[in-house]
Amino acid sequence: MTLAFLNIDWQTLADATALGSIYALMAVGIGLVFGVLRLVNFAYGQLVMAGAFALALASQWGWPVWAGILLCFASVLVLSVLMDRLVFRPLRGQSPAVMLVATFAIAFLLQSIALLWFGPLGKIASSLAYLNRPVTIGSVDIRKITIVAIVVAVVCLLALSLLLERTTIGLHMRSAALDFQTARMLGVRADRVIGLAVLLSGALAAVVAVMLTVQSPLVTPDFALRDTIIVLAGVVLGGMNRLIPATLGGFAIGFATGLLGGALPTNQSQYIPSFVFGAVILVLLVRPSGLFMRGRVVERV
């Protein structure tokens, strides 16, 4: 069966699901840090970009795949810890809007460092290119990366939810996300919780970097910038304050853009960003706390 009336075939549907899964991972990465720091990390895409350049360099030097992925994880983790120490930590206690502007500046900073280092044309990360070949399931051809991306995303999300639900540090993180002050008073170690959130968020950025470089092997300084903007919109759409709504929002926006992008003719699909951001503004106006959130947040004096 194909959804022929919408001109959607199985590959489009699978691609949209894969894109949604990758965006869901990015949404979790952004949501984890937001939960403990109340900081929207606009520079998250530049973490992914750094990981992608690491992969590109590894494949240029002829390193084996596992070494490239290791380099990717190492560089993204180091960068995210640096970002936390040099930027997030001094900014703690500032208003969310100030922190958003600051990470906006960091995003541009990292992007221009990449521009200086690697040039505007970018590099090719090709070690995992074989994942782009199709595999036949039943009578349908689907690219391997589509399946890999979905599986990896599901595994990551399951592992993360186990960590958050079943371990002490996970409990600490959830309580810190609910009310940081009270959690600290009850003995939650702030720096440990924040450190873990930053590391987990960095690890997710590295996973996303691996997935995205397979789909688009050309790594340029503005790699993942557009994706971050869309994911941020999705996170707000779902509900910034809780991880599950944020993840759903990320998935929904990825799935929707993927599906519309594959199904609509070019002269309509070029307007997808307008639709997406129009929807985001509408949701912000109607349900300021998010689409998948129950109840509402009212400020009182």
């Binding site: 500046a105 900073l109 460092i113 521009l115 106006l285």
Partner: protein, 334 residues
């Protein structure tokens, strides 16, 4: 006496603008362009200040109004004979009309103001992060529409053949107009009420101020100034959709934050100081010498330096270089 002393808050920023203009007039023709550009940036940053500074609400969306103003002024200024070449799909109503320099600037301001009013009507209910993301959405939508809507402009092409009437003199007058509008607004009843809501929204509400209405007024006025600045910008150099998008948003926000977002003085000082630094680095990227040292910076250094500076100011001195205070030569009488 108090009114006379308050005038220094206008005369300080205006004097700095005039000094920059005079400096621009005595340097070589190739360097004059940097000063003209800096003065147009002053107009844009002052537009940002009118809303962000007075309301304390973040907006990533003001470059939309700059873009819309630029598009309006640009489309109406290209000579009729050249329109089919660069804008083949232009709407009929726009195809056969061309206006002069001044009227195109006024129309740009009007377009910016009207669009800001309509965008603000729903959006001014938001604050904090939600406002940041929603205004970012406005920027994305404007960019997306201008990029592909060829009925109202050149689409993906560059706005060539717009008469380059933004000389140093016009940029100076433009910056001064923006400064005067911002000053008059900030001194008015509305500006004062809005700043009260910035300091304490609940207290301001309690004495009868409508946060929504005050923000909407400020948003409209700043859209007006932003549209006007966009008109100046399109007459300065050939623009395309990428030149009024993220990069311009970044540099103008950086200017406002570095100068000090809560004062007109901060906006003007920030715009001129960052422009000076940026232009110097731009020259240095092409090779220059300082105190006998030959400096040849790689391309891209400018954004790094400005980005580091912006982050450093946000972390070390969140109120900006001027401390967010207005210019004062003499203290105000008690």
């Amino acid at each position: 006496m108090r009114r006379v002393l308050a005038l220094q808050e206008l005369l300080g920023p205006a004097a700095v603008v005039v000094i920059a203009a005079l400096l621009g007039a005595v340097v070589s023709t190739s360097n004059e362009a940097y000063f003209t550009d800096a003065l147009v940036k002053v107009a844009i940053v002052v537009a940002l200040y009118v809303f962000i500074g007075n309301s304390g609400v973040l907006s990533f969306g003001h470059i939309s109004f700059v873009a819309l103003g630029a598009w309006a002024a640009g489309v109406l200024s290209v000579p009729v004979s050249e329109k089919p070449a660069i804008m083949p799909n232009l709407a009929h109503a726009l195809r056969d009309r061309t206006t002069g320099n001044l009227s195109s600037l006024l129309i740009a301001a009007l377009v910016g103001g009207v669009c800001a009013l309509f965008v603000g009507l729903p959006l001014m209910r938001l604050s904090g992060l939600a406002a940041g993301i929603a205004t970012f959405g406005v920027l994305e939508i404007t960019h997306n529409l201008l990029r592909y809507e060829e009925k109202v402009g050149p689409g993906l092409n560059t706005f060539s053949s717009v008469p380059e009437t933004t000389t140093l003199r016009q940029a100076t007058f433009g910056a001064l107009v923006a400064v005067v509008v911002a000053y008059v607004y900030a001194r008015s009843r509305y500006g004062r009420i809005l700043r009260a809501t910035r300091e304490d929204a609940a207290a301001a509400r309690a004495v009868g101020a409508s946060v929504y209405r005050q923000r909407l007024i400020a948003f409209t006025i700043s859209g007006l100034v932003a549209g006007f600045a966009g008109g100046l910008y399109v007459h300065l150099l050939p623009l395309n959709t990428e030149s009024v998008y993220l990069d311009l948003t970044f540099i103008t926000l950086a200017m406002l934050v570095i100068g000090g977002a809560t004062s007109l003085w901060g906006a003007v000082v920030g715009a001129l100081a960052v422009s000076a630094l940026d232009s110097y680095l731009a020259v240095a990227e092409n090779g220059t010498s300082l105190f006998g040292w030959h400096i040849d910076l790689p391309a891209g250094t400018r954004v790094i330096v400005v980005g580091v500076l912006m982050a450093a100011v946000l972390i070390l001195r969140p109120t900006g270089l001027t401390g967010g205070r207005e210019f004062r030569l003499w203290p105000r009488p008690a």
